[in-house]
Each structure stands twice: as C-alpha cells, then as structure tokens.
C-alpha cells in the first residue's frame, strides 16, 4: 500500500542521522515511510497514526485536508509520531531536497520527544495503544451499535480539553510525600497554650475556647461534606470516577482521556518543538547535506516554512529565532546580573562580541549550544517565553500587540509594549489558550448536581459554546449541571437540567459550591 522507500532516500536517512548524532542529537530509531498526498491526508486525519477508533470526526478532518491540498491551500510536508521507534512520513511528490530537509527536521523532533521532560510521561508505544483503542471501540460498536457509541464519543470530544496536563507530574502517593509536613490538627481540639493552673482561665479564656471548639466542629462538618475534597482540574477523571456511566462508556472515556494526555505535551511545546526542529534542519542542511544545485529550492521551502504573516505568529519562526537568540546570548555572555544592570543600549548591542569567533556558526561545545540543549530538555512554551523573551528580541522580530476594535470592527495594532506583548503571548499559551474549568462541587445543593467553575484569567468564555458543552456534560452526569463563569465582570451561573438552559446572576440567594475561588 505505501510506496517503498527509495534506496537513495534510505541511504540519505542514514547519512543525515549520522550528522545529527555528531552534533549531539539523540533520538529513538526512526522509521520513514513514503506516502502519496492522498494517503498523507488520510494519515494526517488520524493525527499520524495508522489506526484510530472509527469516528466521523476523522472523516471530517480528511475532507478538510484533502480539499486544502486540492486547492493548493496547504500541503503537509512532514509528519512524525512520538513513539519508540519514531514513525515519520514523507510526501512522495516532494523533491529530493525536500525529503532531506524533512528528515533532518524529523530527527530533531525525535530528539525533542526523547529528551524534553514534558514528554517524559507519554506512552512510547502509542501506535500499539491507539490500535488497541480502535479494537476496543470496534468491539463496543458491535455490541451496542454504531449510533450509540459514536454519539457517546461525540459527547466526550466536546469535553476532551478538560484535563490537567500537569497532573501527570504530581505525585499523589502519600508514602512518597515528605514527612516534614506540618502536622494537621486531626484531633480537632482547640489549641491550648501551656499555662499554670491558676493562670489557665486567663491564658486560655473559656469563652474563646468554646468559640474555637465550635468553629473547629463546624469546619470539620463542612470538610467531611466536601466533595470533591479539592477543586478538580481533571474534569474527565472526575467524571470517570463519579459519573453514572456504563462500563463500556467508562472504558471509552478513559481511552479518550489517555489520548488527550498523550497529545497534551505537543500542544505545550509547539513553539519550542518546531523551533528546535527548524534550527536543526537549517543547521544540518546548510552545514553538511545540501548540494550546490539544491540551494535555491531549499531556500524557497525553508523561507516558506518560516514565513510570517501579520496577525498570525508562526511557531516555527518564533521558535527558531528565540533559540538562536539564546545561543547568541550565551555565547556572548549577554545574561546575568552584570548584563541586566547595564542600561546603555550601545554597550548591550556589542556585549561580548569579541567572543564570537571568525567563522560565523559556532558548533558543538560552545556555551550557547549547550544552553539550548538544556533549554530543549526542561522548558515548555510558557516557561520558554517567560524566561527568554527580551525587549531586544521583541524589537528585532517586529512584534506588536493587537486587539479587536469594536468601532472599526477590525483588528488594530495597539502598541509595541514589551510587557503587554509578553503577557499576551503567555496568556495565549497558558493551558493551550483554553479556559480553566474546575469541578468545585460534585454534590451541589446536596442534590448530586455538578458545579463547575471557570477560573477567570482575563477573558470571558464563549456563552453559546459553554451552554452546548454543558448539555454534553449533562449527558454523562445525568443530573443538573452548572457553570459559574464571569461575564463582563458579573458572576453568572449557567445551568442545564436536561430540559432547558438557564442563566442567573449569582448573589447571596444562590447557593455556594463546596469550593470557591
């Protein structure tokens, strides 16, 4: 079914891998497959996996990609799966030089998958796991009918972003927790200061002690009734453990959740990952691999990948430029308190210039190179930008901050203020640009109703979508569901009880959930 990998490409793959290893990249074994553009659309619709569970959403994606390709609106040059071994696909009708670029690019991705800490908890046999999921879902379809299963999956897909990408790093096993934690007042006895008998009623006045005792008792009563004990970010997990769903439904829910956790790091490191891969294909191609006659085509495609357009940030471009900036800064020593304290722009601009050797590119072993290897291991997009974005960089990249202007109904440039740009970038990246939703009460009003809260971080949620999503949660929870969200600075409670959606202003007449922000 696939086109056999031509011999000269297989040979090139070996050569490129060798150069990449020389430069310090370390990756899983990588298997390249060659696909026609039609097959590429198919594989891309499955996010790169040869087998996924049957669902029309993939058919929709396929239709979109195929059309996009047919009208020349975009082509997929490369696709790589985080797996051991890594699988990567090459587009058959690409030029030879494109294949070489893509392979160099892919090896860097594989290195990133292997070494970036955010990927450390992902399943490295995901190809098998996905096929496994497909088999399980297919079995449920045979038993329960395609309509029911498909419908249930559709409901879940509407909730699939309600996970907590950081939770995989949280160790919940109590035995592993440090012992030195302050002892919790388990006895719920009012604290009594040591005092001699005759002084006791002055040091620990009886009325204060009584009040304290009542307070503790009330707190205890409240605590024991709190469900969940803490606000829960991982709404899917909460539903999995507590919603009245059938076994097969729970199984599908756990699969979807698992897949989302698998994909989460790719969302968290888009800029870094693409930046890293672009950095390396550029380095490897220009230094080792490129033939003279391939230069023009390489340049055209490389610059196409890194092209910027107003109003849209290209993660490839931002990533590679920031990595190069870091490399330069660490090679020239433009960091640390001494550099930060210098406010003479002229001096800053030439800081450490003498350290740059004559040949333009500094290779392995330079402090800059070591720094970016370290960066690729421990940062994600949020921390990457938070740490390394500098005013100089923002200026050099010609970045600006834009906003929707209701008067002209257009996006207009607001300014080029560094702080504003940085906070806007971080906002867009935090939680993958999606709102933070918590389960704050699983037994709201003591009637088994589900209470969700949107933790407002500067932007309102989309009401229309929220109401539809609530309906889908209701499908699973089967009791009324509520969402507390701030709209135009007003706290609003959106509810769906299975028949109708309502919204009301939250004031003291509305019951409070178990947890509040």
């Amino acid at each position: 079914m696939n086109i056999k990998l031509p011999k000269e490409i297989a040979e090139q793959a070996e050569i490129i891998a060798e150069y990449a290893r020389q430069e310090g990249l370390d990756f899983y074994p990588t298997i390249f497959e060659m696909l026609s553009s039609e097959q590429m659309s198919q594989v891309a619709a499955y996010c790169g996996f040869p087998k996924r569970y049957p669902h029309w959403r993939f058919g929709m994606e396929y239709e979109r990609l195929r059309k996009q390709h047919r009208y020349g609106l975009g082509r997929i040059y490369e696709m790589v799966i985080n797996n051991d071994p890594c699988y990567a696909y090459l587009l058959a009708d690409n030029m030879f030089v494109d294949h070489k670029t893509v392979m160099a690019h892919v090896y860097a991705h594989c290195d990133f998958f292997k070494h970036n800490v955010w990927f450390s908890k992902t399943n490295r046999s995901m190809i098998d796991e996905m096929a496994n999921h497909a088999t399980r879902v297919r079995r449920y379809i045979e038993r329960h009918g395609i309509e029911r299963v498909e419908q249930f999956i559709e409901t879940l897909l509407s909730l699939e972003n309600l996970i907590d990408a950081h939770s995989v790093f949280v160790r919940r096993n109590p035995q592993l927790e440090p012992k030195s934690q302050p002892a919790v007042n388990h006895t719920r006895e009012a604290a009594r200061y040591p005092a001699k008998g005759y002084m006791d009623r002055y040091i620990n006045p009886p009325d204060v002690m009584t009040a304290e005792r009542t307070r503790l008792r009330e707190e205890a009563a409240q605590d024991s009734g709190r469900f969940p004990a803490e606000p829960v970010r991982d709404v899917l997990l909460f539903l999995l453990e507590n919603a009245p769903i059938e076994d097969w439904e729970a199984d599908i829910l756990s699969m979807i959740r698992e897949e989302m956790y698998y994909f989460a790091p790719q969302g968290q490191t888009k800029i870094m990952n693409e930046g890293w891969a672009s950095y390396w294909h550029s380095t490897l191609m220009t230094r080792y691999i490129l033939n003279d006659d391939e230069l023009i085509d390489y340049c055209e495609h490389h610059s196409g990948t890194l092209a910027t357009s107003p109003g849209r940030l290209n993660p490839y471009k931002l990533g590679i430029e920031l990595l190069r900036d870091i490399e330069l800064r660490w090679n020239t020593g433009r960091y640390g308190p001494e550099f930060d304290a210098c406010d003479d722009m002229a001096v800053r601009r030439v800081w450490g210039k003498e350290k740059i050797p004559k040949e333009r590119v500094i290779g392995r072993g330079s402090p800059g190179r070591e720094k970016i290897f370290q960066v690729r291991a421990v940062y994600n997009d949020v921390t990457f930008l938070d740490e390394f974005l500098t005013p100089e960089f923002v200026e050099a990249q010609n970045l600006y901050h834009y906003r929707y202007d209701p008067n002209t109904q257009r996006m207009v440039v607001v300014n080029r203020d560094f702080d504003k740009i940085k906070s806007q970038l971080l906002f867009a990246l935090a939680n993958h640009g999606q709102p933070y939703i918590f389960v704050t009460d699983g037994n709201f009003r003591n009637r088994g109703e589900l209470y969700l809260t949107h933790r407002h971080a500067g932007a309102d949620i989309d009401i229309k979508y929220a109401l539809e999503t609530l309906k889908n949660i209701h499908h699973i929870w089967k009791r009324p569901v509520h969402l507390n969200a701030r709209i135009d600075d007003e706290p609003i409670l959106f509810s769906y009880d299975g028949e109708q959606s309502t919204q009301q202003h939250i004031d003291e007449r509305v019951d409070a959930p178990a947890h509040d922000f």
Binding site: M1, V412, R416
Partner: protein, 364 residues
C-alpha cells in the same frame, strides 16, 4: 498499512446529509444554488458540525502579530469583522451532488418516487460496441488488436526485425468492432413552465418562481433520465422563450391566461406525443386574469385538451400586491375534482417547501 478512513469519511458524509436534511427548509430558500445547476457538485456550507468546547469568546480577540504598523493601524489580512473571520473556521463547505440533494429533498418531503405512466414506457434501442468479429467495414477496424495480431504473427514467423519494427497487416490479422443492440427502458419527460409576466409580477415574485422551478427541476431530473424543459411567458399574448429570458423578462400589460394554455397545447401536439412522454405543466401566476370569460375558456382548455395528456398540471399562485388573485379559486370551483391538477399558493420563500410537497406527494 490499511486505512479505514473511507469508512469514517462515509459516516461523515452521512452526518452532513442529516444536517442538510434538518436545514432543508432553509436550503430551499437559498437563491445562490440556482445557476450552479450546470455543475455536478454544489458546495454547501454546513454549520454546527463542530464540537462545542469551553472556549474563550470572540470579544476577547487580541493577540500578538508581527510586521510593520503603527498603533491604530488595522492588522493586514483581517478584513472587516475579525470576529467574523474567526467564525469562518467553524463553517465547513461540503461538496454534494445535485442528485444527492434531490434525494434528500425526496426523503425529507416524503415524496414518492415517480412512476412513469405505464403505457408510456418505451424502450429505446441503443447500439453498444462491445464485441469483436473477423469481418466488417474498415471504419470499424480495431487498430490496437489488429496491430497486436500482426505483431504476434510476424514474431512467430520470424519476420519481425526489432531494429526496423515495421508491421504489415494481412487480411487475417484484421479484426473489427461489432455492436450489440440493447433495449433500454427509457422514460422521457418534458416540463413546460408557463409564467405570467404581466405588470403585476414583480422581481420578488419572479424570485419565488425561480426557486420553485429550480427545485421542481431538481426533483424531476432525479426521476427521469432524459428531461426537456420548455418555457412559455404570457401577458395577453403568449410566446415561447429560452430559460434565461424566462426568468428575466418583464412586461407590462394585462393578462390572458388562455393564450398560454393554447400555446402549451400546440407545443404538446407538435412535439410531445403523450404516448411517449411524461408531460408536466407548471403555471406560475399572480392569479389576476383579465376577464371571467377567459378564465372559463382556460378551464375548458384544461379539461378537454390538456389534462387528459398530462402527468401533472401544477398551478402555483404567488402573492402579489396587485390584483384579485382569483384564478386559483376558479380552478378550485371548476376543476377541483380533477386528479391531475394540483394548486398551491406561495406567498414567501418559506412556502416553497410545502408547495413542492403538495405538487409531488401524489407521485405523479
């Protein structure tokens, strides 16, 4: 690697069709569809196929861009209503063939498939060149086969020289195409549209007629292999026009409906024998005829000459600001008991749905 994307794709198409079915009433009123009927496929934007998520609202649109620009400059590439461009992502355009659309129309309106009238079923003879024989006229010589036979013979007999590969046919090399005659049941249909173009039929009315005619056409094409359309316009006189003119033309003056019916009668008599053709006659008017006597004449024309030969006579009366709109009542009174006559009123675009349903629910 075997991919099952085709299954998923099929499921998706099915869901899209379901979505279209749900919104069919809306689609019936969309005039953009018209004019694309020459094409096999129509792109239909399908809304609401995306999954709802908790997401930020569009009023929070802001971001970081790159490039030149002073504060206050519009970001290039974001047209008016950037909220709108954002919206665009959620609308998916799906290609669907007109045939499929008609199929959906039929299912949704529960239109029975039209059975061509029994005695009019004719068999067309068609010759298909599917066979081979040893003798025949040179014009039917099967060159490729002949060449191959000659080549084979020459190689076998040692005459073939790869350096000078000349092939010479002999009589026995030659093979000819031959035909088989296939009898194919065929049902032909002719649609005759008649429209009142007197002063009282404004642009709005014509738009209604266009839409209605489009869907009538779509449905009947679904049911017949060969279909012909003829167009008649009339005020006090009637004349045949082409399709373009039919929907564009505007005249002033009075109305004499009988003129159109007479012309239709003549058309049928000369070109479409009822033995061979399924005949559909549709008349669009605002129902304002010039005189009572003409209305009576129309009725007698219908009963005596037209109705016996027709599958269906559909009278569609569009609302007009002028005129009495009395003709539909006359038809009801005089010919209410005739089976082949069906009337409907279309006042707004929304009525088209029900009108189509009325016309074809009998399955004629």
């Amino acid at each position: 690697m075997i991919l099952q994307i085709n299954n998923d794709h099929q499921r998706f198409r099915k869901i899209v069709k379901g979505r279209i079915r749900k919104d069919l009433r809306k689609f019936l009123t969309r005039s953009e569809l018209i004019g694309r009927e020459g094409k096999k496929y129509i792109s239909i934007p399908v809304r609401g196929i995306d999954m709802p998520h908790f997401r930020y609202g569009d009023n929070n649109d802001a971001g970081v861009g790159t490039g030149d620009g002073k504060p206050g400059d519009a970001v290039q590439g974001s047209g008016a209503g950037a909220g709108g461009t954002e919206e665009g992502k959620h609308i998916l355009e799906v290609d669907i063939s007109l045939e499929e659309l008609a199929e959906i129309l039929g299912e949704e309106l529960q239109l029975p498939r039209i059975k061509p009238r029994g005695k009019h079923r004719i068999s067309a003879e068609r010759d298909r060149y599917s066979g081979i024989r040893q003798a025949g006229p040179e014009s039917l010589r099967h060159f490729k086969r002949t060449f191959k036979r000659a080549l084979r013979r020459q190689i076998m007999s040692g005459f073939y020289n790869p350096d000078r590969p000349t092939i010479i046919f002999e009589r026995r090399d030659k093979v000819y195409r031959s035909w088989k005659t296939i009898l194919k049941p065929q049902s032909n249909a002719v649609l005759i549209y008649m429209m009142d173009i007197s002063g009282s039929m404004g642009d709005e009315q014509k738009e209604l007629v266009r839409l209605e005619a489009f869907w009538i056409d779509a449905w009947l094409r679904r049911n017949y292999q060969g279909i012909e359309s003829r167009y008649i316009v009339h005020d006090v006189r009637a004349g045949e026009v082409d399709r373009e003119t039919f929907f564009r033309i505007r005249e002033d003056g009075g109305t004499r409906i009988s003129s159109a019916y007479k012309l239709a009668r003549a058309l049928i008599e000369h070109n479409y024998s009822p033995e061979e053709w399924n005949i559909y006659l549709f008349h669009f008017s605002d129902g304002d005829n010039s005189s009572e006597s003409d209305s009576r004449e129309c009725c007698s024309l219908l009963t005596e000459n037209l109705l016996p030969n027709l599958n269906l006579f559909g009278y569609c009366q569009v609302a007009s600001a002028y005129g009495s709109g009395n003709f539909i009542n006359v038809l009801h009174e005089q010919l209410g008991d005739q089976e082949t006559i069906i009337t409907s009123r279309v006042n707004t675009k929304d009525d088209i749905y029900d009108s189509i349903k009325t016309f074809f629910s009998a399955g004629k």
